[in-house]
């Protein structure tokens, strides 16, 4: 599986990375505290290379403002929104960077892929199961997406195990073109999220985005990403 460059950082199953999220409804001190906390954790855990800005507000101007502040941390950016209009606005606030565009509304993958083609930003393609994910990759590719990351929609760690294995076999055993992209895992907060992230690392995941993880959890994930090498699929 080849890697992908996201905002100047190469990500692949051999060069794994993770990121933590910040919501665009945070303001003022709450925002700067959250960003400082992530930057401090990244100093301790070098594989924490990304900040994911979540467009909870659904407001393009709020989203852009938080993205511009997050860009100042020096970490890579992942932009998550249901609305490509908000993504377009946010990209404009960070000239020179090529963040990963995560559209959470599967019906708007085509629009987001066009945005990816225009801005040279890679796109993460969602899908609730392997088949819909492959269909959505087809849409993204036919609309000219610059680079693609697969983002399966897991509901738990079992899903992560099954879908990641399925995707890996499609690539490794069948050279199925739509599956030949790095896998991103989007998960939640705390110890269960850490366990989902761990399953992903052990089953071909390249990029993990968590809502939140404390310092101890980040260290566990860092160690696993550093040391784990799988043999079989």
């Amino acid at each position: 599986m080849t890697g992908i460059e996201i905002d100047g950082r190469v990500v692949s199953p051999e060069e794994r990375a993770f990121g933590l999220s910040v919501s665009d409804i945070l303001l003022g001190d709450a925002l700067s505290d959250r960003l400082s906390n992530i930057v401090e954790l990244a100093g301790d855990c070098p594989r924490l290379r990304f900040i994911c800005v979540r467009n909870d507000s659904m407001d393009p101007s709020l989203f852009s403002a938080v993205v511009a502040v997050a860009a100042g941390t020096g970490l890579g950016l992942v932009l998550e929104s249901a609305d490509p209009v908000c993504l377009r606005s946010a990209i404009a606030s960070t000239p020179g960077s090529t963040p990963l565009l995560c559209v959470t509304d599967p019906d708007r993958i085509g629009e987001t892929a066009v945005l990816s083609a225009v801005t040279s930003c890679p796109i993460s393609v969602p899908g609730s199961d392997t088949e819909s994910l492959m269909d959505n990759v087809d849409i993204a590719e036919s609309n000219g997406a610059t680079g693609i990351v697969l983002c399966p929609g897991y509901t738990n760690m079992k899903d992560c195990l099954e879908i990641n294995t399925d995707l890996q076999r499609l690539e490794a055993e069948h050279s199925f073109p739509q599956a030949c992209h790095p896998i991103m895992t989007r998960t939640w907060s705390g110890e269960y999220a850490l366990s989902v992230a761990s399953v992903s690392v052990m089953r071909h995941g390249a990029l993990i985005i968590l809502d939140d993880l404390d310092r101890d959890g980040c260290r566990v994930l860092q160690a696993l990403m550093d040391d784990f090498r799988a043999l079989h699929v």
Binding site: T130, M157, E191, S198, V220, L224, D226, L231
Partner: protein, 270 residues
């Protein structure tokens, strides 16, 4: 979009053993771990809790989690049963095999015992419960009675050789000891060994068809500031071991053991 088939046909089940009073089964895999895609059996790995009669070599950080009951190995084992462990690993240093007998009687859980050879000879006479006998520093080669004996090695070839040699003796059943798992630079070696054993067994290597076990207890030796952090590392090590195909995981922390059991249940879709 029509996708190529990625599932694999299940293999004939690997060997399984009944432990304890016959109500716990380990092994019997017929696919790579947990994969519904390949028709995995809905069976989770067993989680054993550690008990020792030598607290001097046991970290106080972990001891504090057992509310004083760790001072009596039998009470300690009963506590493991109360918190849901599937079995007990007794690290028997004193040589008092009666401790093993009393733990079997009180808990009726499966038991694995690590001890010197002469102690294991005494333990092998205990009946009514099928145990796993683990030699200290080397494989136990004495009489084993109705019990299973653990054999390990540095590589799958080593293990296969020892298991083949053991099969020519009068041993009731064999458990493959994969050694320690922890989330550090040794994890790749542990995973490689475990996956290699499982893959070769599924491919038909008769010497490696036995259930496997490993330990995560040494995760606690890293000098963690508190039990919560140690438990987190141990639970992740157990998850790694289970995903690599281990059938029995021996654990030190009760919180970590609980997490491992829940993870196993979810992965096995129970």
């Amino acid at each position: 979009m029509r996708l190529p088939r990625t599932s694999r046909r299940p293999c004939p089940p690997l060997e399984e053993i009944c432990l304890g009073c016959g109500d716990y089964v380990a092994g019997g895999a017929q696919s790579l771990p947990f994969l519904d895609l390949d028709g995995a059996r809905r069976r989770r790995p067993l989680v054993f809790g550690q008990v020792t009669d030598d607290l001097a070599s046991y970290p106080s950080l972990a001891a504090d989690m057992f509310s004083g009951r760790q001072t009596d190995p039998v009470e300690w084992a009963v506590m493991w049963k109360e918190i849901g462990a599937d079995g007990v690993w007794i690290d028997l240093r004193s040589g008092d095999s009666d401790i093993v007998r009393r733990i079997c009687d009180r808990t009726r859980l499966p038991v694995a015992v690590s001890a010197d050879d002469e102690v294991l000879r005494d333990v092998s006479d205990i009946d009514g419960s099928t145990m796993i006998l683990i030699g200290r520093d080397h494989a136990y080669d004495g009489p084993s009675g109705v019990h299973a004996v653990a054999f390990g090695g540095e590589t799958a070839d080593d293990i296969a050789e020892r298991c083949s040699a053991a099969e020519s003796r009068d041993i009731n059943s064999i458990v493959i000891d994969l050694g320690g798992f922890s989330v550090d630079e040794g994890v790749s070696r542990s995973v490689a060994l475990s996956e290699d054993v499982r893959r070769r067994a599924l491919s038909g290597d008769p010497a490696l068809r036995h259930p496997t076990m490993c330990s995560t207890v040494h995760c606690w030796d890293r000098g963690f500031p508190d039990a919560r952090v140690a438990s987190m590392w141990e639970a992740e090590a157990a998850l790694t071991a289970m995903l690599a195909g281990t059938d029995i995981v021996i654990m030190r922390g009760p919180g970590a053991a609980d997490m491992a059991r829940v993870y196993g249940e979810e992965l096995a879709d129970l």
